[in-house]
Symmetry: C2
Subunit: 431 residues, 2 copies
């Protein structure tokens, strides 16, 4: 079905930061086939026309770091020291995670992401075939990786086999809706030999690699003590760092680390909400962005955030860099919007999304800007970035397919998901 | 009309942090007259019963620092250096503010605050009789102060006269819905003699005093250069600091300053969103709270925030203190909830609000927690603080009066307010 959206403000997130007022956007065969002012009789070329007066179209958000099924652990334990939280709360509960739990937990995350305007996301966790199943059903774009941990040796290779199995089953390349990446968890849960092996396999199949990198000062201290070098250097030595690498966090990075990230064209994913809540530290993203490193944005999992709200993450990213760099011009509107859209698409390897332009995939959202917090209307982009609320997302379109319409999810059974998740959470937490 | 709310989770924000599950709350003559489990035939005692299954009742938020009419300047200019922003953008526009603008701008702010669950707030600005008029009409509780600036001398006393006129016209004491405070803007816009005069007048009528205090490092540096002491010490020397004082920001305070604030029992209002966006710095609120200082929360005006979302402010306050103190246990759930409710009520001098308890004013909100981001339900307070969205506020009740029902504002004409504000903003910004 071809579709024409009309009379909206259109934030393109393109190079020039263009906003088209009273714009029209045509969709055909999953792609944007018209962008501009409404012209006479344009509506006759489309099967359906949606009137969007007082509303704003923009590219869907790309949540570049998440662990979808961890919604199951959301609000189970907060305000705790990291190791106490992990060992006494999170790990025991994760131990009880089943395939069924992963499916419903992932579905809950996708439901929340779509409602908040996310059209593509990146994941690393267990039971990823179940997450892939949920993604295939609901229509979200996803880059999925089975979390890899271990020393080297045959007994630890089963996770890599699982990852490759996932790759064969679901990877559809940059044109497809689901991509599969290789996801070594971190330098503190994978031996150097294991990291090297993962790098080798990734190179062979030209897969993206994602890894948690320099998330905390402790990670760096321990890595230097054990291996005599920083996590970034260790990952580089293992051959893991290149333009297909997605490095989450990069909080505790020094000048040499950042130079390596730049040189290798690594994609860095900033997760300000998680870094703040867990007291991990503050990533120097302004510095890295100024160096030309591609910075994307992510929420991290819901148990360390505790929601998957990209609009909140955008604002937090900007405000945090402003206050920490003592510069109110840091991470201005256009820059954070790109971090949350086109930069994320690049990081995940989706080549035709993140920008509104003719020929690109029709991955977009419609925000109802007829609300008090968007008034007065001096600047639509500022209004969304600094005043907006994710609950105002009314339409979500992915590859030209209507996933949400007037706030109602079309591809998922919301009530069922909440019911199943609650049942599973009660089972997991009772004992 | 008496009213019974039933089958809700009730977050009391009392000393013990109690949450009543499947609770009932009765309202009569503006006060809470029943709190507990639903008992047989309880509904017969009330004129109206509202069923709130899967919903959560909590005290309304107290936004303890705001400049309501500054919504008119929202998103007019962002991502700028402070002085450039103030002198080239904000001041020229403020110069064109009229009484009519103040009325509609204040109405917009109140509309937004009520929709997001704020039931009481504090204001300092111009044309405050118009703001008082808007507050009287819409039903919000307010402590209002005419912003005072100047040297000493008869020619500068007209603002104090205006403030006293406002006091006589609108101040109703801690039992009434509108209170009037005396509001010297800051130590850099008022001379010491002027501050002393305001302190004297405030003492005579036992009024609250609000002031911007130590908002930035520059303010402190300039004050020390000019007067040989910090803003806190200068304000104290002028006799401005006591238990009725509301000190906004307190970002750049040292140990001696904090000790003075503690000793004088000053109420400090933390505005993390504004402090971050304007790159003012990070207030040591955890330290001050640990010292026993009463810390309230505010959004500041919409042109430096850029919204009036207290739930966002709560989360930002907690996350910012966690990351900056490198301690994920900093400002835990119960503490930030109190900052946003009962501490704010104390700061503003409203003695019977901020806590849900029999005998207190029925100032409360209902949040629809049947949304993906509140699932699974392990902990209702955590869910609201760390995952919640202000758009989920469905009911707002102030002094027992229904101000919002099922998301619809009863006491204001939302469409009219947006229309008038837009018209005024276009007039102010055109030239």
């Amino acid at each position: 079905m071809s579709l024409l959206l009309k009379n909206a403000s259109i934030i393109t997130c393109d190079e020039t930061g263009t906003v088209i007022e009273d714009g029209a956007l045509g969709i055909r065969d999953g792609l944007i086939d018209y962008l501009g002012k409404y012209e006479n009789e344009l509506h006759k070329k489309y099967d359906r026309v949606i009137e969007l007066k007082q509303k704003t179209i923009m590219p869907g958000f790309v949540n570049a770091h998440n662990h979808a099924a961890m919604t199951l652990l959301r609000n189970y334990a907060d305000d705790m020291k990291l190791m106490d939280w992990l060992f006494n709360k999170i790990f025991p509960l994760e131990d009880r995670l089943t395939e069924e739990g992963a499916y419903w937990g992932s579905s809950l995350a996708m439901l929340e992401m779509i409602k908040g305007g996310t059209t593509s996301y990146c994941d690393m966790y267990m039971f990823m075939d179940k997450t892939a199943e949920a993604a295939a059903q609901c229509g979200i774009k996803a880059s999925l990786g089975r979390g890899l941990q271990g020393e080297s040796g045959d007994d630890m290779d089963y996770r890599i086999s699982e990852a490759l199995e996932l790759y064969r089953s679901f990877h559809k390349g940059s044109d497809g809706r689901i991509r599969v990446n290789l996801a070594p968890h971190s330098v503190y849960t994978c031996s150097p030999a294991y990291l090297e092996k993962v790098a080798r396999v990734a190179r062979e199949i030209q897969a993206s690699v994602q890894i948690h990198l320099s998330e905390t000062g402790d990670e760096v201290t321990n890595c230097v003590e054990k291996y005599g070098m920083s996590p970034v250097k260790l990952a580089d030595k293992a051959g893991l760092l290149n333009e297909r690498t997605i490095a989450a966090h990069c909080v505790a990075v020094d000048d040499e680390d950042m130079e390596i990230l730049r040189e290798r064209e690594v994609n860095v994913v900033h997760n300000p909400g998680s870094n703040m809540k867990l007291a991990s530290g503050i990533s120097p993203v302004k510095t890295m962005a100024d160096m030309g490193i591609n910075i994307a944005l992510g929420t991290d999992g819901a148990s360390s955030n505790n929601n998957l709200d990209m609009l909140e993450e955008i604002r937090t990213a900007s405000y945090l860099q402003k206050v920490i760099s003592k510069d109110p011009t840091a991470l201005p509107v256009d820059q954070v919007l790109k971090m949350a859209t086109v930069n994320g698409a690049k990081a995940l390897g989706f080549e035709n999304t993140g920008v509104i332009r003719e020929g690109m995939a029709a991955d977009l959202i419609v925000i109802n800007t007829q609300k008090p917090w968007y008034y007065p209307r001096y600047n639509t982009k500022s209004a969304i970035v600094y005043s907006g609320n994710s609950s105002d997302v009314e339409y979500v379109i992915i590859d030209g397919r209507l996933i949400m319409e007037k706030g109602e999810i079309i591809t998922m059974d919301e009530e069922r998901i909440l019911y199943e998740v609650q049942k599973i959470a009660e089972r997991m937490s009772s004992i």
